[in-house]
Every structure is written in C-alpha cells, then in structure tokens.
C-alpha cells in the first residue's frame, strides 16, 4: 500500500514532544509535589519501569495518543501510606495512593495537551513542506508551458502579420481600382457604352465585389485562426441577436420567395458573447439557409435552453445545472447535407457540390468562419438532417453564469 503524507503517523514520544521541555515538566512537578516523576516513551527499547526495591512502589500509567500507548508516566518510588497526603521529607517519599493518582492524572492530561499540540505542529509542518514542493512543481510546469506558448505565439504573430499585410495590400488595392474603374465605365464617365459593353462591365463589377467579399472573409478567417481578433465578451440575449439578423435578411428572403420565421421560448438564454461575432455566426447560418432553400421553401430559426447532461456521469446533481446550454437551430428545406459531409462542411473551402457546374457560388468559407467563431465562444456547431428535407444547423453556447433570463 502506498504510504501517504498524512497517514504517516508519529509513533514515538520524541516525534511529538521536545525531550528537554519534558524534563523541565518533570522537574517542575517534582518541585511542586516532592514526588519523583519520569515520562518514558514506549517504543523499540522499552525502558525499565519496575520498582527498585520491594518496600517501595512505582506508579506507572499509560499515555495514549490516537488510541495507541505512546508513553508511560512513572511516579515514585514512594511508600504507600494511608496517613499524610505526601511526606517528601522521609527517606522514601511517603504518599497516599489517591494523591499519587491525582498527580498522575494531572501529568497525563498536561502531556495529552503537549502531544496534541505537537501532533498539530507535526502535521502542519509536513504539509507545509509538501505544499511548498507541490506549489514549486506547479509553478515550474506552468512556467515551462508559458515559455512554450510564448514562443509559439511569437512565431504565429510573425506569420500572421506578414500574411495579413500581403493579402490586404496586394489583393485589395488592385481590386479597389478594378471596382472603381468598372463603376466609372458603367456610369458612362468614359463615354457611352453599348448594351453589350454595359453587360460586360456589370459582370466585371459584380464578380470583383464577390472577390472582395471573399478576401474580406479570408482575412476574417485568418484573424480568427491567428487569434488576432480578441472577442469582447458581455452578456447577450441570443434570441435578440437572432431577431436583429433576421430583420436585416427579411428583404433578401422575401425577394427569393423563402419564408423566414423565428421561434423563441419563454426562457430566453443569455450567453457570454461578443455581440458582433455572435451576429456574424447567426448571419452566416441564416444566409446559408436562404441560399440553399428553393423559392417557396422556408427557413425557421429557433432559440432555446437545452440540458446536455448525462445522468450516468458521476456527480450528476452537481454538474447537471451547469450542463445547460443555449441552442440556436437554423432549419432549412434545401437539399440537406449528406451524412459523410456533415463534419467536412465546416472545413475551409469545402463545398458539398464540387462540380464545375454547381448552381450555388461561394468559396466555402462561411461555415468555417462560423465554426471558428463558435469555438471562440466555447461552444459547438453541428449539422443534422431536417425532416422531411433540408438541413438543421445547431449551435450550442454556454449560458452566462449557468442562468437564463425568464
């Protein structure tokens, strides 16, 4: 069996009581009552506690510590005498046995107190030392982790800075010119265009805007990956954010002939989130749902509180209340996501339909951004099939302080 710190019991008197102090106690009792007193430890070499001569007595009594005899109190030698309480002047001290018993009791209780204080100090000092060692171990482990994290961050920081600078400058600057000049052409600033020329210029402009959007998303993603975008957390009612986003997307949904609904329950979850980032999550998901839903279909968004607790888990009663989470579900009636694709669609640049003739555009970055953002909020996102057709995107986020507003 493993010996452990606090179970390692002191079993010898000397472990708990200072020998010199004990001698002083004995001397003081002897001065006070005139009866010789010794306190002997019980251990490997048992000291002699037999009476030195048949006419005299030794009073020997046990002192226990934690249920074990750890010492003996030896009073005497004395001659038992029914007369005087104690006569210390005689050649052998003469004393009443009851008087001796009282002294023995006093010594034992005093010694009990000494043992208890000694034990307390013994335990405390052992634990203190061990705590210091443990704390030292913790600190050096943490210092090593921090060192490693720091050098990793430095490297990332360097890479990210150079990448962001390149992308921002080298791609965005020429694109701004392309968009600007094609707009000028379209407005006829460079002379009147034929219908066909107007068409071409409009295509150049809309494709350039699409490209700009892609670059902005890429920058966003790289900022998230590099940890450059530090979220500003505050308590945010999830349903309110969903409602705001849906109001802003209502026009584009109705233009496409897709109905858009929000279901919210009485218990509205409040999450710790960066409001702007949270809006981005909802926006990407709802836009995505509208994009993949045919005219006449519908997109339903719901917000509620769910419990993600497993009754089999040890400590269910303690943990279940904090296993509650806020859930956002975005259900569409589009083509759905086939089983094998359900984790891969959150990878950057992944498209379910990778054929050159696919009907929907996009670079496959929206869901990757959603996943990064959700993870930055300590949440999780997954996709499920909708019944009878379509997909459901489910985002779970921890509730602020494990509570929900009523």
């Amino acid at each position: 069996m493993r010996a452990t710190l606090l179970d390692d019991e002191p079993r010898h008197l000397g472990d708990l009581v200072d020998a010199a102090a004990l001698e002083e106690l004995c001397a003081s009792v002897e001065r006070l009552f005139g009866v010789p007193l010794r306190v002997v430890g019980v251990g490997d070499d048992e000291p002699v506690t037999a009476s030195p001569s048949p006419e005299v007595t030794l009073d020997v009594s046990d002192v226990e510590h934690d249920g074990r005899v750890i010492a003996r109190v030896v009073l005497g030698p004395y001659v038992a005498d029914g007369g005087q309480e104690i006569d210390a002047e005689a050649p052998w001290v003469r004393a009443k046995p009851t008087a001796i018993a009282r002294i023995a009791e006093h010594v034992r209780s005093t010694l009990g107190l000494l043992l208890a204080s000694g034990y307390k100090v013994f335990l405390t000092s052992r634990l203190h030392l061990a705590s210091v060692r443990e704390a030292g171990r913790d600190l050096s482990a943490k210092a090593a982790e921090l060192d490693e994290a720091l050098s990793r961050l430095d490297e990332l920081e360097r890479l990210k800075a150079s990448f962001l600078a390149t992308v921002s400058h080298e791609l965005r600057t020429p694109l701004t010119s392309i968009i600007g000049y094609s707009e000028m052409l379209a407005e006829g600033i460079g002379g009147t265009l034929t219908d066909e020329q107007q068409d071409f210029v409009q295509t150049v402009r809309s494709k350039s805007l699409q490209l700009l959007d892609l670059i902005v998303k890429l920058l966003d993603l790289s900022k998230l990956e590099g940890g450059a975008a530090t979220p500003l957390f505050a308590e945010v009612p999830l349903a309110d954010v969903a409602a705001e986003v849906m109001t802003s997307l209502a026009a584009s949904a109705s233009k496409k002939g897709v109905s858009l609904d929000l279901e919210r329950e009485a218990e509205s979850p409040v999450v710790m989130a960066d409001r702007e980032r949270l809006r981005q999550i909802v926006r990407h998901l709802v836009e995505n749902a509208i994009k993949f839903t045919e005219p006449g279909g519908d997109v339903r968004v719901s917000v509620r509180v769910v419990t993600d607790a497993n009754a089999d888990e040890v400590g269910h009663a303690i943990l279940a209340p904090v296993r509650r989470a806020a859930e956002l579900r975005v259900c569409d009636t589009g083509r759905g996501v086939p089983e094998p694709e359900r984790t891969r669609i959150f990878d950057p640049f992944y498209q379910v339909d990778q054929s050159s003739t696919r009907e929907h555009g996009g670079a496959g970055l929206g869901l990757a951004i959603v996943r990064r953002l959700v993870e930055a909020h300590a949440g999780a996102v997954r996709v499920e099939p909708n019944d009878p057709r379509g997909a459901v995107f489910v985002v779970q986020l921890p509730l602020a302080r494990g509570r929900a507003a009523h």
Partner: protein, 242 residues
Amino acid sequence: VQLDFAAREVAIKVVYYGPALSGKTTNLLALHRRVGEGARGRLMTLETQDDRTLFFDLLPLRFRSGRGDASIRVKVFTVPGQPLHGATRRLVLQGADGVAMIADSRESETQNNAASFLDLRENLRENGLTLSKMPLVIQFNKRDLPGVRGDAELAALAAQGREPIFSAVALRDEGVIETFLATLLVTWQALDRDHGLSKRLAIDGLELVSTAARELGVDEPITEILSRRVGGPIALGSGGAA
C-alpha cells in the same frame, strides 16, 4: 486505507471536499460536538482570521466493531476550498478512501460547486485515483438560506444521479450525521469489495455504521437514518444496490 490484520485495525481516510465557504469545517465541528468521548480524538482545525481553512481540518474518530475486537479508525479531513490552495487539496486527497462533496445549495454557487467538483476529479487523477471508482456522497448544505435550488429540483437531480444526495444545514447539525454515516458506509463497502474486510475482520458494514451512529448519539436504526437522503442509491444488503 491502512490495514493491520494482526492488530485487527483498519484506518480509513474520508475527505470532505467542496468549494470555499460551503461548510466543510462546519460539518466537522458538528460531528465533533455529537460524537462521544470514547470515539473522538482531538479536532484539529487550522483556520485563518476570515474563517477559511488554511491547510486542512482533521477529526480522528475511533469505533470498535460490534463484537468488540476490531478497531476502526476514521480520519475525516477537510480540504481548503479556495482555488489557490490546489496543491494542498491534492496532498490531502492522497490515499483517500471516500469523499463527501459538500456543495452550497444557493443557485448563485452552481458554477463554484461544479468547478470544485471538476477540481476534485482532476486532483484525484493526479493522485492516480479515479472519480468513478471513488465512494462518493453529495451534501447540499445551507438549505436554510434564500436563493437555494428548490427541493423538487434537487430531488429530481438526485433521482437521476448515481450517488446518494443529502440536504443539510450544518450550522444547525441537520444532515451532518446522515452525510457522514452514508459516506462511511459506501466507503466501507468499496474497501470491503477490494480487500474483503468484512470477512477477514468479521465486521458487517451496516453493523459498523450502526455502531458509529450510536457513538454519534443517534439511536434510530441505520436504515431509518439513511432513508432521510434526498435520493440516490445506497446498498443496504450485503451486495447490490437497493
């Protein structure tokens, strides 16, 4: 656990765990008040000025088995609840045989309870122990305060979970003995499974806990005492959960 079959002696270590100020020391003080002279050792508490345990508290208890010749020592430790004393908690948990988790019933403490419980799991792991194998009893203390999780909700949680749950007001001694006896029983049962204690020492777990109950000044049958739990299984026979 420390076993000395020659001396017919078993030393069991029970640890009271929980978040800061949840009432672990208060539980120990209440036990100390209730336990008879014959069974109790000196309670050692090391507290600072603001009532917080610095290292640990220790209440050594000693029970003789029903037939008298075996001696059961129970050392009840508390850990310091404040997060900063992680190293001390880890040390106190070394060699623990059973754990009583003392939670604060107030809803505002929900996160702290959970954090402390996860900290328990982590510290057990550091000591090479597994939470799922550790005998565990949960006490929801401070039931008398405003803002506590309701009785019905607590009962529902207890009914779903795997461990015995007790409610308590440790300051008024309520639920303290129940929690301790249940912890002692589930701890004994686990040690019995691993070391065959009952057979080798001729002591029955229920009999031991009944003796402990009498030492704590409770004359009711042990089944009666344990039935006052909010929920969760306790095996009362020689095997299998009730």
